[in-house]
Assembly symmetry: C2
DNA sequence: ACATAATGTAAATCAAACTATACATTAAGT
DNA sequence: ACTTAATGTATAGTTTGATTTACATTATGT
């Protein structure tokens, strides 16, 4: 329950960037693959710190990856 | 330990916005005053969800309030 | 001098992010 | 047919964000 209000485009971005795998992204940002899986599934929203690291990895502003709103899908 | 790598301008912004008190900001974003205190002190970085709510309250993009880097102060 | 509002600090507890491990499924290569 | 890489799913456990409560300090107003 307690639905997550933060969505993201991580999955899409992985494929736009070199077909990066979940494991590769996990390694780059310093978390486990399970964390990436959970984020892509939308199970929970990341810490701000992790969000910054992911944004940095994709060379994008944080708000182009993560979005906040009632509508889960943007 | 485990120093926090995310800083913010919350305190500055409170005074730029109507001299908003910690309690008022806490109420607006739906947390307790202690959470605001801890954030201003830099004790930890907020959840991404809370970061979005704070940014929304100040009508600013998230990255103008929160920043990531070795240098704690921006 | 007294009251009140805003802030600082601290510690116990709760809730959510994140880890670790494990196993199943699908697709691609040899 | 077999192996390997990538992904899906699940669950118990650890870490850390956030709450709650409580009390101290400083400034302002009366």
């Amino acid at each position: 329950m307690s639905k997550n209000l933060v969505g993201n485009h991580i999955r899409k971005l992985r494929f736009n960037h070199d077909e990066m795998t979940q494991q590769q992204l996990a390694d780059k940002v310093g978390v486990t693959r399970q964390t990436i899986v959970a984020l892509e599934k939308g199970n929970y929203s990341p810490s701000l710190e992790l969000a910054f690291r992911i944004a940095h990895t994709f060379n994008l502003p944080l708000e182009e990856i993560f979005y906040y709103g009632e509508n889960t899908k943007q």
